[in-house]
Amino acid sequence: MAERFAIHLDELPDPSARVVVIDNREIGLVHLKGQVYAYSNWCLHQGGPVFEGTLLGKVEAVLREDRTVAGERFSEDEIHIVCPWHGYEYDVTTGECAPDRRLKLRRYPVTVRDGAVYVDCDARR
């Protein structure tokens, strides 16, 4: 178990994303709805710094019963982190690339205790 201290929770307010460097590895952290997630900070597209991007709800189309479009809205359930290089969007709860869920960011196990976040950088999930 190579659990390492990553950040104090008060430096990662809910909701927000930050990048920490542990053993030369850039880890993207997201605090969302009471949960903390940790992923590789390298975008699967061209290698952009994903977690320096924007947290935003998935854009959803709203359809009426008759299948006409009523409009669009931001989801409050599915939140994405958007890579600032080209706009690739990832579901922060799974690390999956939203338009093609076969693509997933490397995820690291997270433990939160005593107001601090710890990440196991060697584990694979």
């Binding site: 390492r4 201290f5 990553a6 950040i7 430096e11 930050r18 990048v19 920490v20 460097v21 542990i22 850039e26 880890i27 390298w42 597209h45 061209q46 290698g47 952009g48 710094p49 320096e52 991007g53 924007t54 935003l56 958007v82 600032p84 290089w85 080209h86 706009g87 990440v119």
Partner: protein, 398 residues
């Protein structure tokens, strides 16, 4: 101990592109010649300087008044409806104004060197951004005035400050005679490696009035580039309701119109040594056009009497910039595209940085079907031959 990367107080290109620098190091780009044939600046950020170079006093007055009104009011430069920045998701669009640069060097030069250094690029060919839509300006004399002012500004304020920045100057293509005058006047200036036509315009490139321009460029051995862009307001485009559609179709569309006229009217039969470069349409549209035209030419050769070979053969004489390379889950398709366009000699790497869909050099380097020699040609050698760029010692460029 973890290091917490500080939240960005000010935007910095070097920080944004730190991963590109790591890629360049991992792939040993320091051992490669890399020439980017398409990067951009936002010339409107230096518009006050450029406006001072406008020769016509009335148009200069109009331009200076336009600056005072600010960009929120209609002015001398056309403005497009669009969403290149994905509503702020591409953060550099909004935050670039925060970036601090050293005094005494033009801001554009500093910003361009920063992106080049991070990506491992040795030389770059610089183009404007808002001027990409100047071809739709209803006042041809304004297009001419802006083209000439921009050329003077570029040659006097930007190019002398960098040994690594080159340009293909904007041609006021709606005025063929003025375009010829531009080539004669600026074709020999240091750092000018060719001329560029913005594709968004309604100009038949095969018209007899353009033959003196092609003759002049061929004689001077200066490449002619067509730079794609979009326009949401004309033709069929207003039917499209999303920017993704306008961008995906618009960029190749305007290039395809000009390629069709160029090829079918035998311009390369008439000017066989004219070097033509097509910028920023991606790659997929090229093979679409090759197949379409070759198929129809076999039935309708009577409509293209100047041609002596298949349309695709003429297209394989042309040069193509690589970005935005369509990266889908189909390497076989991409490999076949490279073969069809003779990428080994005709494809030239382009980043399009800082625009939203830029490609790092790794996009070429990481392709599984290219040999080391082919990567070197596409990343730099093809462009060096196309432009005749004389090389600085590696590492001395600055």
């Amino acid at each position: 101990m973890a290091t917490i990367v500080p939240e960005r107080e000010t935007f910095d290109t070097r920080r944004l592109l730190q991963h590109a620098a790591q890629q360049a190091k991992d792939r040993r780009f320091q051992d490669f010649l890399i020439i980017d044939v398409d990067c951009h600046h936002y010339e409107t950020e230096a518009f006050a300087e450029i406006a001072e170079y406008i020769e016509d006093p009335v148009i200069r007055h109009m331009a200076l008044a336009s600056i005072q009104k600010g960009s929120s009011r209609p002015g001398i430069m056309p403005v497009q409806v669009g969403n290149q920045d994905m509503a702020g998701r591409i953060t550099r669009y909004v935050r670039r104004k925060e970036e601090r640069t050293e005094a005494g060097i033009p801001r554009d030069v500093v910003l361009i060197h920063r992106y080049m250094d991070q990506m491992g690029i040795d030389y770059t060919v610089l183009f404007p951004t808002p001027m990409l839509n100047l071809g739709m300006h209803p006042q041809v004399d304004v297009e001419v005035a802006m083209a000439r002012a921009y050329a003077h500004w570029m040659c006097e304020r930007i190019l002398p400050n960098s040994e690594r920045i080159r340009t293909m100057l904007y041609l006021p293509f709606n005025d063929p005679e003025e375009s010829v005058r531009m080539v004669k006047e600026f074709g020999g200036r240091p750092g000018v490696v060719g001329f560029m036509v913005t594709s968004v315009r309604f100009a038949p490139v095969h018209h007899n009035r353009y033959m003196p321009l092609y003759r002049e460029l061929e004689a001077a051995n200066l490449p002619l580039a067509f730079h794609a862009a979009y326009d949401w307001t004309h033709g069929a485009m207003p039917q499209l309701n999303k920017f993704i559609s306008v961008h995906a179709l618009g960029f190749p569309f305007y290039n395809m119109i000009h390629i069709a006229n160029f090829v079918i009217n035998g311009i390369l039969e008439r000017f066989p040594r004219l070097k033509v470069l097509w910028i920023e349409g991606g790659l997929a549209y090229i093979t679409f056009l090759m197949q379409r035209f070759d198929n129809e030419y076999m039935m309708r050769s009577s409509e293209a009497p100047l041609l002596k070979k298949l349309p695709s053969d003429y297209m394989r004489q042309m040069y193509w910039s690589s970005q935005p390379m369509e990266r889908v889950r189909n390497d076989a398709m991409l490999e076949e595209t490279f073969k069809m366009i003779k990428a080994e000699t005709q494809l030239v790497y382009s980043s399009d940085y800082p625009h939203w869909d830029f490609d790092t050099p790794s996009v070429i380097y990481d392709l599984p079907f290219l040999s080391e020699a082919q990567k070197r040609r596409i990343l730099g050698e093809n462009a060096r031959e196309l432009f005749g760029i004389g090389l600085l010692e590696k590492g001395s460029a600055g």
